[in-house]
């Protein structure tokens, strides 16, 4: 499982930010060729991002490049960027499985023979994209996550974007459900007010409760808050350890049924506990293991 609690956008035509992108501790850095780059500077940003991928050390952060939409510069972006070995491509405004097939063909043509296959994260930000979410997630094994882009989506709906997010509730749950059904990750839309830490916390907590596995981020200051929400708490880890202990004890006693504090421990509970412990292990939070 790849950790994608936080995915930080970095403008693709800003050398200062590109060279420092690895120091913020985001699980993924998204070098952005799309919205963060003026139309006249697309070519220059492509050169800069290509050079950054070859030379800048992004540490433990996954390197993702957001290309331009399929009907603009996607083909040129993929041809230039894929040979520089990013971990993944974030494809904006995906609306169908056919879009993914098109991207896969372009990536395959651009990859070097010995290169690790480049993954795809599909950014769903139109009503059509939300409707097709499951088929998009299942379109190709390269697709590892669905992400929600709520700003364009609400514009497509003709709705007002609010901090409460009532207008994107349906889209959020559709993306989460489609991703879970396809066994890929779901990543929530960014919280766009970088100065509102309380709002970010509430929005991220809601995203986690609904089932998202991570959140897009537009400012490095947001990363700690996002991680604090998506990291398992000590109580979560303690509960998960008790569940695993109870099920192992039951198995050792030849019983198929276990209970913890009077509640039955069945397979979904065990799966949830295992996910928590796996995440805790990845994050180095298992120091107090019993």
């Amino acid at each position: 499982m790849d950790l994608r609690r936080s995915m930080l956008f970095i403008p693709g035509n800003n050398p200062g930010m590109l060279q420092n992108g690895g120091v913020f501790g985001a699980d993924s850095v998204i070098l952005d060729l799309e919205d963060a780059v003026a139309p006249m500077e697309k070519d220059a940003a492509r050169f800069l991002v290509a050079q950054a991928l070859r030379t800048v050390d992004y540490g433990a952060s996954e390197t993702v490049v957001r290309i331009n939409p399929l009907d603009t510069f996607a083909a040129v972006d993929i041809k230039a960027i894929v040979p520089c070995c990013p971990d993944a491509i974030l494809v904006p405004k995906v609306e169908s499985a056919a879009d993914i097939h098109q991207v896969v063909a372009m990536i395959a043509a651009a990859e070097k023979p010995d290169q690790t296959p480049v993954k795809i994260i599909a950014l769903l930000e139109t009503p059509c994209g939300i409707v097709e979410a499951y088929h998009i997630a299942k379109a190709d094994p390269r697709v590892v996550a669905l992400a929600l882009g709520a700003e364009d989506y609400t514009a497509g709906l003709g709705a007002m974007r609010t901090k409460e997010g009532t207008e994107i509730f349906t889209a959020r749950t559709i993306v989460i459900n489609a991703a879970a059904a396809a066994n890929v990750q779901s990543i929530d839309t960014p919280y766009t007010d970088a100065n509102d830490e309380e709002g970010l916390l509430a929005d991220t907590q809601l995203a986690k409760r609904l089932g998202f596995k991570g959140k897009l981020s537009i400012n490095p200051r947001q990363i700690d808050v996002i991680h604090s929400v998506f990291n398992p708490s000590l109580n979560d880890i303690d509960w998960a350890q008790q569940v695993i202990h109870a099920i192992r004890k039951a198995e050792a006693e030849g019983s198929g049924v276990a209970s913890l504090n009077g509640k039955m421990v069945d397979l979904p509970i065990v799966n949830r506990a295992e996910r928590i412990l796996h995440l805790a292990e990845l994050l180095g939070l298992m120091g107090g293991e019993k």
Partner: protein, 97 residues
Amino acid sequence: MASIAKTAQAGTLESSDVMITVAPGTQGSGIIIELESIVLAQYGEDIKIILEKTVKDQGITDIYIKAVDRGALDCTICARTLAALSRAGAVLKEEII
């Protein structure tokens, strides 16, 4: 191609960036570099080497380059030079357009 077709520019004057202007050189002029940099004393020669190597790698031998550097890393200098060359009509060897 020994030179480029026209004058072109890439980059900005922001911190960590470099603004590159390239102009066609006359045949036999060689690579002429004019460099302004906030780190001229420390890295001036290194920056000139990167500029020269980047244009030579593209097969360009006669060119005028003006670079105004604000502390750019090597990869930024290379990227901005390639962008300027591309905008000046050079057909680049690297598969980045």
